[in-house]
Symmetry: D2
Subunit: 345 residues, 4 copies
């Protein structure tokens, strides 16, 4: 802001000249993802690491960072290792990172979800237990024991990055069994900078929640770049609380977001799209419309005779068919399956 008259109440003399406006740590980005249908669209990153496993930042800093970047909730999900922390230069136990983060969350009124990551080589792979109450008993030799303990704590179990580290996304018997037993409640289709197309079909067919998360170890602003938005899970919650997020997750009211792409159920994506845009007829005879996209999600609409981009935060003047079907190319409802909508918008 460049004020015409600078009436500055700060201390500015020869001893010290303060420029508090240079400190941006109390400023939060506004991400415009619209609410719809009575639900709050909550921007959640449900997979993150701190110095208490192999991450780069102190737990309280993960919370501040998430708040600054415009998220509504973060889960701290440090790795469990058998009986000791990853780093020898750290003390504490497996609850320490979440305890520190929860304290900061309380201080700044930001939702922090207590979690942990249960990691093994494949076939088990990695799974996050979210909304746990005590991480220490989950450090078991047998990962399925950890899952059971977590479930008894009321945990939501997420299957993390199924295509990591071998670039194959495979449902092994262990996951088949867990899914059958309703012990996996969500699957990551976006993780860090990777996408798992086939997992979108799994979410659709197995009726579990579409999940997208950063799995951030580094400093998020430096990892994703200055204008980027990290992968996140959009949670369509009845109330803006941890309880609201939990209920929506188990109900499967989510969409995964990354790099301008959404993956989720058609009933959610179509309402999110409708809540994002506003169409106005300019010339009915010629089919010319003005479409304003009030959201921070750009959409690409494809139809028989062409394609139209609806950039985030812009109005577009364009020609659209007056009726018929269109596909939204950045809204995926399954593997190579796009959200289908009816025209007019």
């Amino acid at each position: 802001m460049s004020c015409m008259v600078s009436a500055n109440a700060q201390i500015q003399n020869d001893d010290i000249f303060k420029m508090p406006e240079m400190d941006r740590s109390n400023i939060r980005k506004l991400i415009r993802f619209p609410d719809f249908g009575g639900y709050h669209t909550m921007k959640c990153d449900l997979h993150s690491h701190t110095v208490f496993s192999d991450g780069d930042v102190w737990p309280s800093a993960r919370v501040i960072e998430a708040w600054q970047h415009g998220l509504d909730a973060i889960a701290i999900t440090d790795h469990l290792e058998h009986g000791h922390l990853v780093r020898k230069t750290l003390a504490g136990d497996f609850n320490t990172s979440c305890d520190i983060a929860l304290q900061k969350g309380k201080e700044i009124n930001f939702i922090v979800i207590k979690g942990t990551e249960i990691s093994r080589a494949k076939p088990f792979g990695h799974m996050n237990a979210l909304f746990i109450t005590d991480a220490n008993p989950l450090s078991t030799p047998e990962p399925l024991d950890a899952i059971e303990i977590a479930l008894r704590q009321g945990a939501f179990i997420m299957w993390n990055h199924p295509g990591y580290p071998d670039n194959k996304s495979t449902v092994y018997p262990v996951q088949e069994e867990l899914i059958k037993g309703k012990k996996i409640h969500g699957i990551e289709v976006f993780n860090e900078v990777d996408v798992y197309p086939v997992c979108m079909d799994w979410c659709k067919n197995m009726h579990v929640a579409f999940m997208g998360n950063s799995d951030i170890h580094e400093l998020a602003a430096d990892f994703y770049g200055k204008d980027a938005i990290r992968p996140m899970t959009l949670v369509f919650a009845s109330e803006r609380t941890e309880k609201g997020i939990r209920e929506a997750l188990f109900a499967g009211r989510t969409a995964a977001y990354f790099n301008g792409n959404l993956a989720g159920r058609p009933e959610h994506l179509s309402l999110l799209l409708k809540a994002s845009i506003e169409a106005k007829t300019v010339d009915d005879g010629k089919g010319i419309v003005e479409v304003t996209n009030h959201s921070d999600i750009s959409y690409r609409i494809s139809f028989d005779s062409g394609q139209v981009d609806l950039p985030a935060g812009k109005t577009v003047r364009t020609t659209l068919p007056k009726q018929g079907k269109a596909l939204v190319m950045n809204c995926l409802t399954g593997m190579r399956e796009y959200l289908s909508i009816d025209l007019p918008l």
Copy 2:
């Protein structure tokens, strides 16, 4: 937008590879200035020039440019010269520029206001006649005759840039007389890159509309720079039509905007501010609040013990006094007079 799967319906072969997304001429910037109190906040530039006087662009291009830049209405106000156009290489009469612009406005459904600028050396100076029906009879030897003819056409008369070109803002007898006769309805307090502080007092005391306009001759995006918003008159209109603008202008429901600063009546500015921001208590005991500014106007709030910036499109976590008065340093209600508001926000 970077789509994961690029299903491009455009022609892309060895003969021709079309990249229509590079053509931004059908894309319009979204400027978020909120509506309030049943009024539409319309962004108007009521002073502009084309090649038909001493401007650089064709009239239809002024209209497209204004649409792209996010305005809701533009007035074309080319200079009148006695009996001939400024440029020998042009034909047409004093209505030609507006006729071309109005035709384009009709085509793209954008409000174009027919106007002209009556220019003389001081003491008369420059005045715009807006909402005229025929510019030709206004090309009179005596400028006051032109004013009378314009008034008979129902014109709104704006006194342009009172401090130009001698850097003195002076009310001469000619303006005093016109104001007394209610023949001046608005005064520019912002013009191009200049501000006229004393004129804010005039608007306040003489009960005429606060006006801010670009007076653009050049290409606006190049003149003001890529992220800049030109000076404009915010018109608080009952309906989004030319008629709505006209009614609001005569009623004095306007504010002038430039470079992050607003000048207007306190009853309008305070409602605009309230409609822009949303405050949430974080810690009532410590007086910590989160203030989200949903608008594209940054505000600076000053109070006894300090000062807080509310940047456009951001949330700020800050400490504010729980009650008392504050000044909004970028909202001017007169010369060196700031909007006073009550805390809490």
Copy 3:
């Protein structure tokens, strides 16, 4: 710039408060395309229109715009029509637009090239005559007569957008004949927002200059968007003068630039690349290097085992093969043919 101590020599009082820093019309963008091999890399747009044919801006404004946008030269190439200007509201003859532009160029020390566009339906299509001395005699019924007159004036003849308007890029007998007679000296491979891949092969095989131009009719900053660089012809000239440009054009020392892509001869593109980047070994054993790209052109290097982006104005730490061949995917030397380079960089 936010100065700690604001010692402002501008007039700032209650009558008028000047903010000249808001006027960006005297500020020019710096485009960093490096010189090499004793040549100056000159950024030229050799195809543009003004209000004197079907363009939107006054000729002098085209010159200012080109200067502001960081170009080194512009050609004004308005259409010729038989005996009259396109617009009835204009006077003047076919030299008027260039005369006005040349006058402005002289004033601000910017190279303006006098040209015109000879336009017919296909098979002739559109051709620009550049460096002409008098446009009026080129308004002939027969376009080949106009070409001959232009050639007698010493013109460089450019074949414009061969794929326009039928989306077919075809060499008809008329062009075959002209090329055989060395009467076409360059072909546009980029025009406005279109690319003509097959024309890259023509330039290569027929030994004519690769050309890329905006053909701008609108306001360039609004048409291409705020950060975009318009299509241009990079001319590798011995001296920074009109004469230098002319000599280089006839010698075929050019490359066409658009949207991050270059098309030209391998000997030029490889030297431009080398002049853009600087590589430093970080870990010789692991093949880790740091590559700094000092230019405003991003490069994408592809090799057997992977691919590396070298973003404009950034340093990248990456692993590259220690030797072998690589392709530069944004440097085209023909249709579907990429610049081949030797590693290490």
Copy 4:
């Protein structure tokens, strides 16, 4: 980069679709501060904290962050506490943070300077010991003992933020004594978001190095905002090595940089300015020049008849006096004392 033809060698199939270009952690910002007079202008932040005292990031992350942000060297300067680390959840000793950082520096070929901060209440205040070999013995009850031990290790002693925390910049007897004994070698004039004008006079009069540093505890990209450059010490070094930095620091060849402002000795600042800009005459008669500022530092030139801004990375066309003195308003050589230069530029 938007490539016309996307030949992507990455793995992209239904199991996994990798988008490595979204990971920016191997990309480094290029800050263009020119070299001059045979010296390398090295961008150094000589005051930073990690989780091993009260900072928010792991030591190796501080190094990656500094590399990404375009610095050439960083000093890790965690606080010493008597016999224990600040945080109970950490193990290690006072060398641990630097050891981890140095290891990462070696890995990525980035200069890390071993340091520590000796902190007491005023009058002693805070001092950094840079280039130390062992931090553990510096954890003494008496801070002057720590200084002596550091000096025996060859340390450069910097007096940190003299105006903190009481907003008074005072030279107490303890500092007077140290300066007299040549045991303080530099003084921070910029720290975090504060400026100490009077300390510029101290640096000038006491012949010690001007220092500017971030004292960063948080995540720098989030603290200073996405386009900001943190405060830094520009070191004019004979070679791009730790040894080169050390030699230049003791020789006082530095300038402090923050928020577009430089503070240093006139002989350095004037050469830096000259190396940044290039002036070209446009119209000698009218005194019109074009000044290109190739650097990332904007300059503001003030003279009797006016003032000119030279924005970073832009060319400006302006009128300058043909001869005489000018002041550079963002180059401070002492308290309220500006760099004086001779015109023409």
